[in-house]
Amino acid sequence: MSDFEPKIVGFCCNWCSYRAADLAGSARIKYPPNVRIIRTMCSGRFDPMFVFKALSLGADGVLMAGCHPGECHYVDQNYKAMRRYGMIKQMLRAMGIEEERVRLVWASAAEGHILAEYINEITETVRKLGPLNWSQNWVENEDRLASLEAIAHEHKEALEIKL
């Protein structure tokens, strides 16, 4: 487990959080390289589908970052992100995924250090939780192939009987 490096997908809005990440870069603030940042125009674009898709394709965590409430470039879309985040968490709990793996945070364009801090936090949280490995969940029981072969064999025998 000590070798485990979490894969985290980060969604940042164009107007605040992506600029915060940019600022963190130009200010040489250090943060873990575990987060792969994807820029969207707004936190209102953080479709719950993105989160579930990321988790199912191998991400161990998802960080969503947008403008502070009340400061959205598109007036109130970050409130929609907030409500969707509530539904995402409710769904994750039901699915048996630790809700700490997905987080919605706010970081303005001037808050590079705050975004870096959130990235630190989620990386450490997910590192403690361990790999998610979600697609392993539907790898089928090993008796599946044996049973399929048994059916094929039984039918082959039946086919040989000429009526």
Partner: protein
């Protein structure tokens, strides 16, 4: 509809399903006679006598159209899906189970071990003192008896074999079934992989009055009697029509019952539940994180059964976390 040439060959099959899809084919009423005119039904366990071996003896691709309903949850389902795929020119995922898992897909919140325990030992009406569970193989004096194995995870047809067309709905509505049959007969099928149906949502077919949707509380259907003119979602009922494919004629909202989403996601959407969440993001009327959490926890206590009643097996997450120990069942 009869054209004097050789009849096309039609097959049907049911895997993990309730049988409603079979009945739905009869909802096209007397047009079923046109179907009989145009097709020879060569295999359809619910309707005509036939055995798997009859299908095995066919040439590959000999069946013109196979209407396959039901999800894949046992090795027998999977075997028949692969067999019928091989023998059919056109394989149609008929109904919600084959398309997206539907109600059998909700079995993905549990696993084989738990299902066996509930069905064969724990249920109060079960009398099974020796704790006998179904076995894949049983040795008898006469030889070995085989049973298909049940899988932990229910799959859709398209997760098992390539599917040509999807006909969603639980069950599909008569008009859509007829549309599909006509398209097949006239050779005017859309591109393979398409869903045969509307490219819009249930709201478009719903006659209710819609204004701005803002709700502070979700009600369960038994808690209120909605008025029969206003949008049900505006009245606080969880209506899935906003993110569900049209094609049903909005029959549920028209009788004061919210859409439960049986027609699955609209065109271009993979994950039905996520789309519903995205839509509800602009409906829940609160800007306070704590109040939002409360509205969601109180109003949507069963998020899987609410967002994914029909689409769990086809969603990105597919199933709840599988306890690794249970795989040893």
């Amino acid at each position: 509809m009869s054209n004097g040439t050789a009849k096309k060959k039609l097959a049907g099959y049911w895997a993990a399903s309730c049988g409603g899809c079979e009945i739905s084919t009869l909802s096209i009423n007397e047009k079923i006679l046109d179907v009989a005119d145009a097709f020879d039904i060569i295999f359809w366990p619910c309707i005509v006598d036939g055995k798997a071996r009859d299908v095995e003896q066919l040439e590959d691709g000999e069946i013109d159209v196979c209407l396959f309903n039901g999800a894949i949850r046992t090795s027998e389902n999977e075997y028949m899906a692969k067999l019928l795929r091989k023998k059919s020119k056109v394989l149609v995922a008929y109904g919600s189970c084959a398309s997206e898992g539907c109600i059998p897909g909700l079995g993905n919140v549990t696993n084989r071990k738990e299902i066996f325990e509930t069905s064969y030992t724990d249920c109060v009406s079960v009398d099974n003192p020796d704790g006998v569970l179904p076995q894949a193989e049983t040795q008898m004096d006469e030889g070995t008896l085989l049973l298909p194995v049940i899988y932990d995870t229910v799959k859709t047809l398209a997760q098992t074999v390539p599917v040509d067309y999807f006909l969603p709905g639980c069950p599909p509505e008569a008009e859509r079934i007829w549309d599909a049959i006509v398209a097949i007969l006239e050779g005017k099928l859309p591109a393979p992989g398409s869903v045969i149906g509307a490219i819009t949502t249930v709201c478009d077919e719903c006659p209710r009055k819609r204004t701005e949707k803002k709700i502070k509380k979700f009600y369960r259907t038994w808690e209120i009697i909605p008025d029969d003119e206003t949008c049900l979602l505006e009245q606080g009922l969880f209506c899935a029509g906003i993110a569900t494919r049209a094609g049903c004629g909005a029959c549920c909202p028209q009788v004061n019952s919210p859409c439960i989403g049986c027609y699955g996601p609209n065109e271009g959407v993979t994950d039905h539940g996520a789309q519903l969440m995205a839509a509800l993001g602009s409906v829940i009327d609160s800007d306070d994180p704590e109040e939002i959490d409360r509205i969601i926890k109180e109003g949507i206590p069963d998020p899987i059964g609410t967002f994914y009643r029909f689409g769990l097996a086809n969603s990105f997450l597919r199933r709840t976390k599988l306890n690794q120990n249970s795989q040893d069942a």
